[in-house]
């Protein structure tokens, strides 16, 4: 496959870039740091996304490891959401979006023709920037996924799934007495946790979170960060965030994007204490550019 041979030459280029990173000033459009990990759940190689004429993501390669939280940061419009939506093929719903490159889940190419999109999305769940509970009851919101995937044999099993999901999302105590009330009647923070409960009820292997706390107060944010930390025991999590502190608190690795390019990847500690690329440094120290 043409793409794969390109991938190889690309990784060779990456290695040189990484090797050069310590010495001279790294050039733009070359990712600094090691994009690959020893035990990846998902891998992206040379992913490009076009929205019509707009080239939103350029040659991005990145791995997501098991039991890891990877934070994606970068200025607005740099393509973080776009990359995230590639990982569960939610970009398929945008008619103008064209995705090229290779993305794998457990070694399987997810853009392959044989790939069942529905199954993929059950394995790679997503929590959106704006809470979007369905206009149904709290119970039905959480039961929606298990129902369509036939995860529960009977009502008691379903009840159990709903309860554990809500408990893990830290929402159970607040809603256990009003499971039949509309999910849209909850507060913003509760709605976001409801959406998280809804996602984990399906039992995905990877959870994508697109700025999950952007609409929340510090207390709700802290709860969700605790939850992310806990979820890491079982899942791999990609989180997009505009808050450096949040990235520093919850993630083990951080990827910095700039105008569609993946500029730098590395352990969170290293990115925040000792960024290699001047763009990364500029962004995290707040003097952008």
């Amino acid at each position: 496959m043409a793409v794969e041979s390109k991938t190889q030459s690309r990784s060779a280029a990456l290695e040189t870039a990484t090797a050069a990173a310590g010495g001279s000033e790294p050039t733009a459009r070359r990712t600094v740091g090691d994009v690959s990990v020893p035990n990846p759940v998902m891998t992206c190689r040379q992913v490009n996304v076009h929205y019509g004429d707009k080239h939103a993501i350029r040659d991005v390669s990145l791995d997501v490891a098991h039991n890891e939280v990877i934070a994606m940061i970068g200025p607005s419009g740099c393509g973080k959401s776009t990359l995230l939506r590639c990982l569960n093929r939610l970009n398929d719903t945008i008619p103008t979006a064209v995705v090229t490159g290779t993305i794998t889940l457990d070694g399987q190419d997810i853009y392959e023709r044989r790939q069942d999109v529905v199954q993929l999305r059950a394995r790679v769940g997503m929590v959106f920037q704006k809470p979007n509970p369905f206009p149904k009851s709290v119970y039905e919101n959480v039961a929606y996924g298990p129902r369509i995937h036939g995860l529960a044999a009977d009502r008691t099993e379903l009840d159990e799934i709903v309860q554990t999901s809500l408990q893990r999302a830290g929402l159970w105590e607040e809603v256990k007495d009003r499971l039949d009330q509309p999910g849209t009647a909850l507060s913003g923070g509760q709605q976001q946790r409801l959406c998280i409960a809804r996602t984990i009820a399906v039992g995905p292997e990877v959870i994508l979170m697109d700025e999950p706390c952007s609409a929340l107060d510090p207390i709700a944010t802290a709860r969700i960060e605790d939850l992310i930390d806990e979820l890491r025991q079982n899942y791999a999590i990609c989180i997009v965030t505009h808050s450096m502190q949040q990235a520093a608190r919850v993630s083990q690795r951080t990827a910095y994007f700039h105008l569609g390019d993946l500029i730098e990847v590395g352990s969170t500690d290293m990115i925040f204490t000792n960024p290699k690329h001047r763009l990364t440094e500029g962004y995290i120290t707040g003097r952008f550019g």
Binding site: P95, R121, A122, K130, F134, Y144, V202
Partner: protein, 462 residues
Amino acid sequence: MQTSTLILALLVLTAIAYQLGRARSLRVAGGPRGARKLHSLPAYYGLLTAIWCSLPALVVVLGWQALEDRIIAGQVVQSMGGGVQELAPGELSLVLNDVRNVVAGNVKPDAVAPEIATAALRWQRLDGLSRTSAAVLALCVALAGGWITLSRIKPTMRARNRVEQIVRVALMGCSLIAILTTIGIVLSVLYESLQFFRFVPVTEFIFGTQWSPQLAIRADQVGSSGAFGAVPLFAGTLLISFIAMAIAVPVGLFSAIYLAEYASRGFRAVTKPMLEVLAGIPTVVYGFFAALTVAPLLRGVGERLGLEVASESALAAGLVMGIMIIPFVSSLADDMITAVPQSMRDGSYGLGATRSETIRKVVLPAALPGIVGGVLLAVSRAIGETMIVVMAAGLSANLTANPLEAVTTVTVQIVTLLVGDQEFDSPKTLAAFALGLVLFLVTLLLNVIALKVVRRYREQYE
């Protein structure tokens, strides 16, 4: 002076007043560079002058026109002497008609009685006088209005606020026209219906199952006692509306779902305008399509199946009406479906739902209240529809649930009751008003429910 000339003159005056007002505002402000010192833009001063120049004059002209005829008639009658004045109102109006005919030149003055001819002459003179005085008065008022406004223009005058106030009053007047007309129609229908219920008890009208609105002309006539039970009409209306909705709701809804969720952009671009064309076909065209194409077709099919199909049937009318309503349902449903936020769909897809699961379990339930509202509006359209039913469903008031028979509807009966020469105080014509009243109440109720449902839906995502 002719009224049209007068109006033209007023228009010219208004235009001049605008220019003068504008120019004066600039002058009092001290030249073109002084516009800043004015409270409002110069154009507002011009507008205000123009309004005060034209509006009162127009009121004078219109008021004069409204009263003119009556005053002249009064004068003429008085001049004709005691004999005429004491005539009964009906006879008096006959005499006046003669006079008018002579005045209009339809009848030669020597072909009528001499008194009439004299009266006609007098009428003509008075008419000329009245027109001249109207013109003079109107022009005076216009000049006075314009002049007074002009003389009051000062930099501190709040011309914009005044113009806006006048415009607001005018806008309110327009909305009042719509409201008052509605109230007037309702009241007149109500009044005539009450007249009707003096002849026929309400209970008989609402619960009676016989409808034959012919009345006996002679007391001993047989078979025309007149029965005013409206049940068969409402049954017919319901039957046809039901058939129509049974076609329109599924087809409209599914086409909306297809257009909103599945269709490619190109297909949508072609299909939506075509559906809207369907909505633009006049109902009378649908009517003869139903009567001349669909009804014979149904009859043919029925014959082959061994069914008795009347040449005018509820089915034919209902089918065609259903087709007529499809674009109504589909465009409303399409709006409601596209109004469901993309984030709902993304949420569902993100959980691994298929497209059809997403539509069935998330999109449709979210859009349902809106769709129900649209369907209710469509029902009230179906109930009020007349032309198709007149042409395709027949006139016989059968009380039947068999769609293959001829039935009749409320609207059709209203039409047949009122066409032709009628006395306006017979129960037969009054029955039309009672039917109209009930129809109005039913559609009003449906519309209110529909609006409520739609409004509740609107609040949901905010």
